[in-house]
Symmetry: C2
Subunit: 210 residues, 2 copies
């Protein structure tokens, strides 16, 4: 069987270097190219048609998530294997929804990584154990209560210390409406006041992503 061709996408030279070294010194793999951001990744993937794209999610200039979405949209053949540093619950699900074939942590030992790439090339979904367990538990819980758009917006302003009245002004709605939204937020997050709501917001990744 021909080598599995790879495209490495990561903003850190060190990481790209490490990956390239690992795959070049192992039989059965060919590194076609490296990309440092999502835009480059999409271009190179379209041009070089690799079997597998190893992609970091967090990168400056065109996030990995957007890149995956774009690759899927263009119907590109390459399988995308997300290779990330940490597995934040907020990242895993969207990435897989966007079309990623697998999700690995960089902590993974080499063997696991090699194996994952082979699996991905064959079209099989590969998840690192940590991610897998996270996924099932995420599926198990019906819906951790995603806030409605307006509710999130209000919560963000609350986190900035904005009073109800000023939130009303800022969003061009009445103070009564702000209070209604907030009540819903409290209910959905299972808290009793705005301070706790902000805390929950951070814990659940609703807030905090600059």
């Amino acid at each position: 069987m021909a080598d599995i061709s790879l495209l490495l996408v990561d903003d850190h030279p060190v990481v790209r270097n490490g990956l390239r070294g690992m795959f070049e010194s192992a039989p059965g793999f060919t590194v076609l190219a490296e990309a440092a951001n999502g835009v480059e990744a999409v271009e190179l993937a379209a041009e070089l048609d690799p079997d597998v794209v190893l992609m970091d999610l967090r990168m400056p200039g065109g996030s990995g998530l957007d890149a995956i979405t774009e690759l899927t949209r263009r119907g590109i053949r390459a399988k995308v294997l997300v290779l990330t540093t940490w597995d934040t619950d907020t990242d895993t699900l969207p990435a897989i929804e966007a079309g990623a074939t697998g999700y690995l942590l960089k902590d993974a030992p080499q063997d696991e990584l090699f194996n994952a790439v082979r699996q991905a090339a064959a079209g099989r979904t590969v998840l690192s154990p940590a991610v897998a367990s996270r996924l099932v538990s995420a599926v198990r819980s019906p819906a951790p209560s995603p806030l409605a758009a307006r509710e999130r917006q209000v919560l963000e302003l609350v986190a900035k210390g904005t009073s109800n009245r000023d939130i009303a002004r800022e969003l061009f709605i009445s103070e009564a409406t702000v209070k209604t939204h907030l009540s819903h937020v409290f209910t959905k997050l299972g808290v009793a006041d705005r301070a706790a709501a902000v805390a929950k917001g951070y814990e659940q990744g609703i807030l905090g992503r600059d």
Copy 2:
């Protein structure tokens, strides 16, 4: 001049591999060993006496910060170069206070990394530009305002949605005292209400570390 001897500390095999590859293929460096956590790092540094320790800060099992503190305490000769993925304001200052000789981002190009190691070996402080500018601005601001123990404690309870009265009960103090603490917290964090204080708490890493 003899080679500069290195100890690589990072919990990710990929990163260690990348670093090892880079330094072994460049003249003037010798990689003595690798460690995957802070405890190992201290042991190996004590045993092998490297010139420079390249250390990631965030690692499971004995954080990098503790490792640096311990190395400094033991008066070990090695210079510690912190090599981290992102530069969160909460990490840089403590690391340098703990005795790190330098602070680099993994984004740094190879040349800069090599140069930084040489500088560190010579005992000079090296900071990546991003970190350096962050430092000066941190110094410029009078005091990032670390909360007093009691104040932090109160803030934590506030984040859990506890009312002033209940905080008072929980800490065996009067409600008046709770309010006083909170007022101080607001002033120190530069916010106006408890919700914003919680937000700041998360942003500044005071809250959120489970």
